[in-house]
């Protein structure tokens, strides 16, 4: 049972990493143009990553 003492914080930490990953994708503008992203990935010239937020 003592394993819980470090496993519990660890799992919350993993969850937090996921949450911050969401924040990062949000800030990076990855939800600004879902339709465009879907077609950009198919073309090398267009696949330039998300647009930086002004």
């Amino acid at each position: 049972m003592s394993a819980l003492m470090w496993l519990a914080p660890l799992s919350v930490l993993l969850g937090l990493i996921g949450l911050f990953a969401f924040f990062w994708t949000f800030r990076a503008g990855q939800y600004e143009d879902p339709k465009g992203a879907a077609v950009r990935i198919l073309d090398d010239h267009l696949d330039t990553g998300p647009e930086a937020r002004p």
């Binding site: 919350v12 969401f22 924040f23 939800y31 600004e32 198919l42 073309d43």
Partner: protein
Amino acid sequence: MSETLAAPGCPTTGAAILGRAPAADPEAFARTGDDGLRSLELVVRGARCAGCLSKIEKGVGALPGVVSARMNLTTGKLAVRWEPGRTTPADVLEAVTDLGYAAAPFDPAEVRADEDREGRRLAVALGVAAFGVMNVMMFTVPVWAGAAMGEGMRSFMYWAAAVVATPCTLWAGRPFFESAWRSLRKGRANMDVPITIGVLLTLVVSFSETLLKGPHAYFDAAVSLIFLLLIGRYLDHQLRAKARSAARDLLALQAHTATVIDAEGFERSVPVREVVVGDLLAVAPGERVPVDAMVERGTSDLDVALVTGETLPARAEPGERINGGALNLTGRLVVRALARSQDSTVAAVARLMEAGAQSRSRYVRLADKAAALYVPLVHSVAALTVVGWMLSGEDFRTALLRAVAVLIITCPCALGLAVPAVQVVASGRLFRKGVLVKSGAALERLAEVEHVIFDKTGVLTEGRPRLLDAPAHLVALAAPLARASRHPLARALAESAGPGAVAEEVFEQPGFGVEGLIDGRRARLGRAAWVGVERSSGDATELWFGFEGETKVRFRFADQVRPEARRAVEALKARGLSVEILSGDVEGAVRAAAEALGIVRWRAGLTPLEKAAAVDAAGAKALMVGDGLNDAAALAKAHGSMAPGSAADASQNAADLVFEGGLGAVPLAVDVARSARKRALENFGFSALYNLVATPLAIFGLATPLVAAVAMSGSSLVVTLNALRLNLTGDRR
């Protein structure tokens, strides 16, 4: 590569999209950034596939000096930045239109309005709440499942749950807490007040239970309440944000600039917003008069269909006052601005629109009606639970715990989702059919209408005259002159003749007609007096034509009823709605349209004020369908309102729904609104049933955290699935 990705209907596949050519000069909308680069945003219509994307970005990117061209397929906006001096905004716009896409410059002020900070805030809150829900379950699920758990372990699990749930709940719940606080300060209680009380009380009781080593703590319930409620809030917000930005795009496509003549006599174009009283403006044929103005120089004919609803053009001469929004047809005018664009719609119309909007803001939405019944009921039940259990000998702690369980189980999660989910699905369905719904309340009002009022010009009819039957050889004879004129009657004549030769040495006398050489012979087309016919009745729905010294012939015109109008009117009648026409046009024209459509109730020659009053007088809950400036007040006043995408911008702003592509949209919108209302009521019914079953459980202390979690998410799921059903039914044709 690109061709294989082209979606059907894209200009890439060859079918060019012909937009309403915007007269706006993009120069007025470009701005200079901090890095010294000029930038411009364009609304691009018709770009849907990878082919479009690469064609536009490469085409614009190839212009000299362009640093970046980025197309957003989701919003349909193209952002371009370039080095000043090397290219012009007009070149950028032209590059896009040359590729076959309708494009219009987007006002920088509108770009800022488009950013949607509230939506971003809700999305972040939703992310935090989702994290909280998922991670708090890690600690509470073992408690629900673990029979073999000692008291110490349970306490540890609850403390861990508290560490995760408390900050998440407090952070993600801020939209509710702030809204509740704002409403309390105004001395009112909205739906967010009971939510806030319920959530905060749940947290407090959970802490005290954990401290007192009680068996039940509801940390997971607190954060999942916030999560489920945020979903409803987010959907509702997205619906409104999407409609708002689509409405702005529509207006941008018909945005116009004004050409100001400065003191030195130079012309420059500015956004209409920036015109001030006293400015000297030039209005070329084909442009709209930007603001109310006085004619200084020049004569012309004005198309006032959008302003007053009259089909026939009005004369404009020096010294005459003309209304903003009128389309200049034949001659160049120099005018002096009499009003700013904000004040330019007749002041009375603006005031009426405001009054109408106020009467509308008194409209109570379905969800608020439900909340007004539900909230006091739930709080009384919770209070009775405390009192009841204490009277029957339980201690205060147990009584309070059961009351909190009542609050949790009855917290309006399903209620908060019941309406937004339905409305999002319904507007999505209408959006795909070219109907834009501006708000959820608009759909609710539309479902209640009993009476439909149509404007005539431009709504029921095409809004421009058509040639009535004339011998083909005569039409062909007059066509070369007609092709040289912008006058709507001449245009109609030219249209029915088809493409062909144009007369030479054409001279147009605004307000009278045109003169020119056809095969070397001098001919005139225009009013009777212009052609040289002695006639008493100066009927303006006709044109005369004749070669010099020969017999004159007459062409007659009428505004034709739209081909789909009859079917739309019949469809509305079949749905039990009464139909009426209110028009600003002359009596004869309105009667003809009403008879063609089988509409018995009609009134002609109405001013904007009379139209608005007539909407009031209609008594029944009325749906107004109109496009003109003269309809704006009536649109704002009516219970529901729809405007076509070609309408004046004031009317589009006043209307609840904006539709493109035919009057068939009106019965369709009524159908969808009605079935949305049905689904929403079903959802309320289900919520009521759920509460009837679950509340007694909570009162008698049977609502353990596990039961609460299953009941809450289960009911929300059922409500959402029922809303999605709207997408499956009735759309099979």
